[in-house]
């Protein structure tokens, strides 16, 4: 028992206590000074009936999730297949694809501001294939696609999970499929994909949770704009709590965020049984 006390102390102090306190605060008005004032369900009513920015932030986050999650999973899958072949210099390619996900943060967000300028690298590249790129960051239509594009640069973590799963597929399954006369495509669809479903499921859960926690890019690259087109729910929480100091109201946003993440995760585990294939020896 003594061994686990350090964690128990920090858990009670910085997790469980605040968790309970945030439920209480979400039913109050609290402005960081003075005492919290009980307002009942007012904060929640205001969230859903009188806060266009909140509704907008939820829609924006859903938009991001709907494009980012399938997009990054397909791209990472594709890259993992490429990297799983025996080629010279494999560690170099792997590093190139993986490194951006380790360095993701404020520094690379500023880098992308420059890359996404009207005459920046992204548009120069599009120009090579004859596309006249938009002014990404000042257009309320293109700002969100710009953030999604940027998110694909960070496919490394997902890709590594797929790569490990690919390497865990027993070779004899492919041999058996060949004997049955399966070609490349059918092997992919009937052997690779079913054997990868645990990894695909895992990354789907992680990426969806991650999408609801997008913050750094939205604050640094677009600061929620233009015209709230990249206002994510967490950015809305941050501004409400730490720029306007409406901490009771921000706690209500935090709780809605928590419930959303919880519901998405439970839903995914609920439908997982229908499509995820678990073999005894599969990792994890």
């Amino acid at each position: 028992m003594l061994f686990v006390t350090p964690w128990l102390i920090t858990f009670l102090w910085f997790t469980l206590g605040p968790f309970i306190a945030s439920i209480f605060l979400s039913f109050t008005n609290y402005r960081f000074i003075g005492l919290p004032e009980w307002v009942g369900l007012n904060n929640y009513v205001r969230l859903f009936t009188d806060d266009a920015k909140f509704i907008r932030s939820v829609i924006n986050t859903l938009y991001y999730t709907a494009v980012h999650v399938p997009g990054i999973m397909i791209m990472a899958f594709f890259v993992a297949i490429l990297l799983n072949q025996k080629v010279k210099g494999q560690p170099i390619y792997r590093t190139a694809f993986y490194l951006p996900s380790v360095t993701a943060g404020v520094a690379t967000a500023y880098l992308w501001i420059l890359l996404l300028q009207p005459n920046g690298l992204v548009n120069q590249f599009l120009g090579l294939v004859g596309i006249d790129g938009p002014n990404w960051l000042t257009s309320s239509t293109w700002a969100m696609p710009a953030l999604i594009l940027m998110s694909f640069w960070g496919l490394g973590t997902t890709m590594i999970i797929y790569l490990a799963a690919l390497q865990g597929i027993p070779q004899h399954l492919y041999e058996a499929a060949s004997v049955d006369g399966a070609g490349v495509i059918r092997k992919m669809w009937h052997v690779t994909v079913p054997m990868m479903t645990p990894a695909i499921f895992l990354t789907a859960v992680l990426q969806i949770i991650g999408s609801w926690q997008v913050f750094t890019q939205a604050l640094i690259v677009t600061n929620g704009g233009p015209r709230d087109s990249t206002l994510f729910i967490l950015l809305h929480l941050y501004r409400t709590g730490f720029e306007y100091f409406q901490m009771g109201y921000a706690s209500a946003i935090a709780w809605v965020l928590f419930v959303i993440i919880l519901v998405f995760t439970i839903l995914q585990f609920g439908v997982a049984r229908r499509w995820v294939y678990y073999e005894g020896s599969t990792e994890r």
């Binding site: 028992m1 003594l2 061994f3 686990v4 350090p6 964690w7 128990l8 102390i9 920090t10 858990f11 102090w13 910085f14 997790t15 206590g17 605040p18 968790f19 306190a21 945030s22 605060l25 960081f32 490429l82 080629v87 170099i92 590093t95 190139a96 993986y98 490194l99 380790v102 360095t103 993701a104 943060g105 404020v106 520094a107 690379t108 500023y110 880098l111 992308w112 420059l114 890359l115 690298l121 640069w153 999970i161 895992l202 992680l206 949770i209 991650g210 926690q213 913050f215 750094t216 709590g241 730490f242 901490m247 921000a250 706690s251 935090a254 965020l257 928590f258 919880l262 990792e283 994890r284």
Partner: protein, 282 residues
């Protein structure tokens, strides 16, 4: 006839494969190359469309930000937080994980389930009361909020280490005990030496987590010489110092990214293994 067309097709597939692999790698590396390039340019060179690589490199960008901005402080603060997070955080995580893996005490299972469920609870949900606690402790605008919560070990790290400790045969513990080793003795002389790969993985994840941390430092830190590098970068670009020069900004970005890249190249295996063993994003 047929065999030549098959061979041509195969060669074409091979060529396409390398094109995708090499082309893709270059595309993923180019943003970094641009970061280096800009950090070594003078302001006028940025607007010269014919110049790709600046020669000689403008080292003065680095010396300028180092001397005219609190960059040394930012680096120092980031270093302190990361150093304590990696050393103490990893060590305490080992001790706690050992408790969960090997010791029978009432509520062991239940507390471990609680630990697992905290991994589902992002800091963002509890951030408001957490910041109020820091305020009441007088910790706002100090490094304590970034250090103290991690001193009890991180839930992810404890989970990884506990899973690894469970794979070590219990007979080794028993042998050590008959030789008169205490519980701590078993941890230090049996478990830890056998767990180097898992410990290295946790240390690598803790390094990245602490070094890249932005949300909490952004909220609790304020004074220009008390912030960490990621927050400092923001001050810099926000025109706080009356400058918006890309070159200086990219020099600071380089200073903040370089340690990660260096650590990554030394501990590449640990990163990859950390992700594949646990499936948890660092």
């Amino acid at each position: 006839m047929r065999s030549t067309s098959v061979r041509v097709l195969r060669a074409l597939t091979r060529a396409l494969f390398y094109l995708l692999l090499i082309g893709g790698s270059i595309m993923y590396a180019i943003p970094f190359i641009y970061m280096v390039r800009w950090s070594f340019m003078t302001t006028s060179q940025v607007y010269d469309p014919d110049l790709f690589w600046p020669f000689p490199p403008a080292w003065e960008n680095y010396t300028y930000v180092w001397q005219h901005h609190p960059v040394p402080w930012w680096l120092f603060n980031s270093f302190i937080v990361t150093f304590i997070g990696v050393t103490v955080g990893t060590f305490v995580s080992c001790v706690v994980a050992y408790g969960f893996a090997r010791l029978e005490f009432p509520g062991n299972r239940v507390i471990f389930m609680v630990l697992l469920s905290t991994m589902m609870l992002p800091l963002h949900v509890t951030i408001i009361p957490v910041v109020i606690i820091f305020r009441d402790l007088g910790w706002l605008d100090t490094l304590w909020p970034l250090i103290v919560p991690g001193l009890g070990g991180g839930a992810f790290y404890i989970f990884i280490l506990r899973q690894f400790f469970m794979t070590i045969p219990i007979e080794l513990d028993e042998a050590a005990r008959t030789d008169g080793a205490s519980r701590l003795g078993i941890l230090f002389r049996v478990i830890l030496p056998l767990s180097r790969p898992a410990i290295a993985t946790v240390a690598a994840l803790a390094f990245i987590g602490n070094w890249n941390d932005f949300f909490l430092p952004l909220i609790v830190l304020n004074s220009p010489d008390r912030i960490t590098l990621p927050v400092g970068l923001r001050y810099f670009a926000a025109g706080q110092y009356m400058e918006q020069q890309h070159t200086l900004q990219m020099a600071v970005a380089m200073i903040s990214v370089m340690p990660i890249i260096v650590v990554f190249f030394f501990a590449q295996r640990q990163f990859v293994r950390g992700i594949t063993l646990t499936g948890i994003k660092g």
